[in-house]
Symmetry: C2
Subunit: 134 residues, 2 copies
DNA sequence: CTTGACCTTCCCGTCACTGGAACCCCCATA
DNA sequence: TATGGGGGTTCCAGTGACGGGAAGGTCAAG
């Protein structure tokens, strides 16, 4: 398979696939003309990484997941540990975003949004209190 | 004020303040020795930007907010429009993260996490269905 | 033989900083 | 006067995960 076909099948841009080869996530063979020649296994790995990325795993985490994926003697506990850590990061991010959302929604709610210059949003941003209190 | 004092007062790293000058968010004067000499107004602008950043506004958005902040003839509607757009982005991100969270939580829940190699998480990642269905 | 769709590599740009090197300035103390 | 330490300055490179685009090689069809 050439890169366009694999890209379509894996749902990834060709650029991304080249990048993944660049950083060593996959090692497709080459045809005589220099084109990348992808095997079924390459496609599976790319689709796997694509799904892991869509769940928010970083490339480093994907590399680890891929190693576990390919290790028939893996312990599922190792996979779960990775996933649990990532899940915690996602939840922390959600908490952070919800705090932003709450503050911002309050400010937006308080602002009349008309032609007049008085603006509770700008007032909120210019006074301590809406910033991160660490 | 020198940069360290302003950094402490605004709650921003000195590096960040230099960066903000670099991209034109602030224009502090210079002392004869070449040191940045910050006025109160600079400090206020930095604190303002710091709070906007902590609410997730991008630098581009901060620049726009700062311009409105400094424009006494602004319409609060312009500020509100910016904030509403940003709020929508935050909410979209939250929705995205919650979808990730749900999928990942399911997978984690299904995985025994022991020494055995069988792993529903890896199975989930290797089969279509948990990826972004676009 | 040409056209157009592929493929290749390479380099720069993104975003908002962060780290580090190399160097300058100012004050206090021995 | 030397020196030491704690400011400050600039500039360069790296981060993560690609994306855009240039310059050029390859392949199949008409």
């Amino acid at each position: 398979m050439n890169i366009a076909e694999v890209a379509k099948a894996a749902g990834l841009p060709a650029k991304t696939i080249r990048y993944y080869e660049d950083i060593g996530l996959i090692q497709p063979k080459r045809s005589e003309n220099g084109y990348r020649a992808f095997a079924e296994a390459d496609l599976h790995k790319l689709a796997f990484v694509g799904r892991a990325r869509s769940l928010g795993f970083s490339i480093v985490e994907c590399r680890a997941l891929l190693a576990l994926y390919e290790d028939r003697a893996r312990a599922s506990g190792d996979v779960k540990a990775l996933a649990v850590t990532h899940l915690a990061q996602i939840r922390a991010k959600i908490v952070e975003l919800r705090a932003m959302e709450a503050t911002l929604a309050d400010l937006v709610h308080a602002c009349s949004g008309d032609h007049r210059p008085d603006c509770p949003i700008l007032r909120g941003l210019s006074q301590p209190g809406s910033g991160d209190p660490q």
